[in-house]
């Protein structure tokens, strides 16, 4: 494994913009003139900061009401969790499970996954880089789908404006929730999965020496 030659070890870097592989000492991509880096600069730092920001917004997103319905039947405002509970009580188990997994489980699992990846890239855990890379791709792929909640509320707010009878207004949680989704996507984007492999190579290089 130690003999695997990487582009980085050859001083070659892939351009972030156009993907052209060029020697990193040229500084700028000869094709698109963007800066060349061997790895995404400050990748872990950025990921960590976006992760913390996302976690911060996760609390208002779940504590504050997502959407309030006012009308003849009175006012009711539901948080995500109370909405899930209401659906569950009414017997709409499928809807409850979908909302629960899309709006509560996925964001938190994403954040946990990213945290794990960051820790792995810093060398705190020793998991197979192949699995970690797969985890990373799943995380990145799933991220955009958690915006479903936001879209549902946006559509309802537009459609249900019946004045006295019934009116749907977005709650303060919707912005926080959108922020969580966006920030986790940023975090996933700013994470450089190559760091996982770098760490693996380093460990592989160190381990034969120690043993």
């Amino acid at each position: 494994m130690g003999e695997v030659r990487t582009a980085a070890s050859e001083g070659l870097a892939s351009c972030h913009m156009c993907g052209k592989v060029s020697p990193v000492r040229e500084g700028h991509c000869p094709r698109c003139h963007s800066k060349l880096h061997l790895r995404k600069p400050h990748s872990l730092e950025r990921t960590w900061s976006f992760l913390i920001a996302a976690a911060a917004f996760y609390f208002p997103a779940n504590l504050l009401p997502m959407m309030s319905v006012s009308g003849l039947a009175g006012n009711s405002s539901d948080t995500i969790l109370s909405g899930v509970i209401n659906f569950w009580k009414k017997g709409d188990f499928l809807v409850a499970i979908i909302i629960f997994s899309a709006s509560i489980m996925i964001p938190i699992l994403k954040m946990i996954a990213l945290t794990w990846l960051c820790l792995a890239a810093s060398g705190f855990t020793s998991a197979s880089p192949k699995n970690l890379a797969r985890l990373y791709h799943v995380t990145e792929f799933v991220g955009r789908w958690s915006m479903v909640d936001v879209f549902v509320v946006a559509v309802l707010v537009c459609l249900v404006q019946l004045g006295v009878i019934s009116t749907v207004t977005p709650g303060p949680a919707i912005l926080s929730f959108a922020s969580v989704v966006v920030l986790t996507m940023f975090a996933a984007m700013s994470f450089d999965p190559r760091l996982l492999w770098d760490r693996h190579v380093e460990e592989a290089a160190e381990s034969p020496e120690t043993t």
Partner: protein, 554 residues
């Protein structure tokens, strides 16, 4: 990385050493996010406003999440949750008050449910038939931070912040006076009963009364309140009295107040003053006496018709009233009826002006002949009152004491006097020598019998006289009278015949008729000529052609 550095160092002799920034600018993002998220959460809970727990006996028409809390019809909160209280005897509504209205939750704040209510006196809350019930919050004056309240079952009649006079009336009997009943002054509504409660300790009814600020000055220290509920038929010492209040008061009860005639209005009063509520107007009027002197009267007659509360009058002026009729105050072995009265000695002093105030007025009055008598106030009802008056020929007496009371001497009077007089008459009748009289009547009857006999003989004599008269008629002279009568008739017939056709009168009459006929004929010729020549009257018979009118010659 080491390889890269080596390469850079080999190519460029001058190394550009850049100190790596310790903190990347990317850390601003989580910092901002933390602040923003924290602020959002804080704002949300801060904006929620305080919770108030209001206890009601029932959650009827209250709905969680729907029923609003309003203050003067402005929404200030909403019912979030309704739960049974721990003791299961009431419900507790959790009310979320808007943060701006936090100051409304004060010690004296009151909550009640506004829903349609229909009673005899008012119809309220009809609007809530459509919009649903809501909880009205009336802010109080107490210190602000209070979160547990007891809701009212009935809406308060007047809100606590309406300016006005708040009094308490105390009555023996509630009558039909209830919360919401109007208070009248001379038939004009000036206030309302806010609440009625039973004071168990004193066994009395307490009414909290509100008098509108505009009329608060009418209530003075000397004011009397009385119940005007329903139709009042009283049969007292002064006959029958029927008094009806307004229709509304008849249905929902009511009370009136006034300063009774002769009473002193006194100063205006402050909130919280307690007044007695008299059962009727009469009682209120009588209440102006300040009976300061209790006296005992012993009546040696029946006091049937005398009731507790009956007036004591001095020459027709009310002076006091009967307090008690009971043998408790009577000394042993005395069968006279003791009657305790209370009198206003001030009024008595005013009535008898020439007595020094220094002396005991009552004692002096009794010395001068003041006596109490039972008098009939109304013959119809037989109600009695006690009349105090100076009796000129009263047997001399002094004011005595019996126990704690002064004893005013009494005279029996009225019906009792009449009874005595009748008794006296009966006694006199009893004393009459009836037997003797009857004997005399007997002899008189005998005499009458004799007289009758004499009369009978007189009648016999008269009969004999009649027989003689008959005989007289049968005699010849009496018969001759008819013959004479016949002759007279003949003469009359003769004189009538002279008037007939052969009589002298007849001849004269025919002559006169002939003359009259000739005169008529002459008149006929005259009328004919006038008919032919109507102008012949003016121009004469012969004239013809151009005739000239013969005017009067001058």
């Amino acid at each position: 990385m080491t390889e890269g550095e080596e390469e850079e160092s080999t190519q460029e002799p001058r190394a550009v050493v850049r100190r790596r920034r310790r903190w990347s600018s990317v850390w601003v993002v989580p910092a901002v996010a933390l602040v923003l998220a924290g602020w959002l959460v804080w704002k949300h809970y801060h904006d929620k406003g305080p919770l108030a727990y209001v206890r009601f006996s029932t959650a009827e028409s209250i709905e969680a999440g729907k029923t609003e809390v309003r203050c003067r019809s402005v929404r200030v909160g909403i019912v979030e949750k309704i739960e049974l209280a721990n003791d299961l005897q009431s419900v507790v509504a959790e009310v979320r008050i808007d943060p701006d209205s936090e100051g409304l939750l004060r010690r004296e704040s009151r909550f009640w449910v506004v829903k349609p209510r229909v009673s005899a006196s008012t119809i309220s809350g009809l609007g809530t038939l459509i919009t649903g019930a809501y909880i009205e919050l009336e802010p109080g004056d107490g210190p602000p931070p209070v979160h547990h309240f007891d809701g009212l079952e009935e809406p308060p009649v007047t809100s606590a912040n309406v300016p006005g006079l708040r009094l308490t009336l105390v009555a023996e009997d509630a009558g039909s006076l209830t919360a919401g009943s109007p208070i009248y002054y001379r038939g004009f509504e000036v206030g309302r009963v806010e609440r009625r409660t039973l004071d168990i300790e004193n066994r009395r009814i307490r009414f909290d009364v509100f008098i509108d600020d505009n009329y608060a000055d009418l209530v003075r220290e000397g004011t009397c309140f009385w119940n005007t509920s329903g139709i009042d038929v009283t049969a007292g010492a002064d006959g029958f009295k029927l008094s009806t209040p307004s229709f509304q008061a008849m249905l929902s009860g009511g009370a009136s107040f006034a300063v009774p005639k002769g009473g002193v209005p006194g100063r205006p009063i402050n909130d919280g003053r307690v007044f007695g509520l008299f059962p009727d107007e009469d009682a209120a009027k009588k209440s102006i006496f300040v009976p300061d002197h209790k006296c005992l009267l012993f009546f040696d007659q029946s006091v049937r018709g005398l009731t507790v509360g009956a007036p004591v009058e001095f020459r027709g002026i009310p002076l006091g009233r009967v307090v008690e009729i009971s043998f408790e105050h009577s000394p042993n072995g005395d069968s006279r009826v003791p009657v305790v009265v209370e009198i206003d000695s001030d009024t008595l002093t005013k009535a008898v002006e020439d007595i020094d105030n220094g002396k005991d007025v009552l004692a002096e009055c009794v010395r001068r002949g003041l006596r109490a008598t039972l008098s009939t106030g109304s013959l119809l009802t037989g109600a009695l009152y006690i009349d105090l008056d100076f009796v000129p020929d009263a047997p001399p007496a002094e004011l005595t004491k019996s126990g704690e009371y002064d004893v005013i001497p009494t005279l029996s009077s009225g019906l009792a006097q009449l009874e005595n007089k009748v008794n006296a008459i009966l006694a006199k009748i009893e004393k009459l020598p009836l037997e003797e009289t009857l004997n005399k009547f007997g002899t008189a009857a005998d005499e009458i019998a004799i007289t009758v006999k004499e009369v009978r003989s007189a009648i016999d004599e008269a009969e004999a006289a009649l027989v003689e008269a008959k005989k007289l008629l049968a005699r010849d002279e009496t018969q001759n009278i008819t013959a004479e009568l016949e002759a007279t008739l003949k003469e009359v017939r003769g004189s009538v015949e002279s008037l007939g056709p052969n009589g002298a009168v007849q001849g004269d009459l025919s002559r006169t008729l002939d003359e009259l006929r000739a005169a008529l004929r002459a008149f006929k010729t005259l009328s004919d000529s006038i008919e032919e020549k109507p102008n012949s009257l003016l121009f004469g018979r012969e004239s013809s052609g151009n005739s000239e009118p013969k005017a009067k010659r001058k």
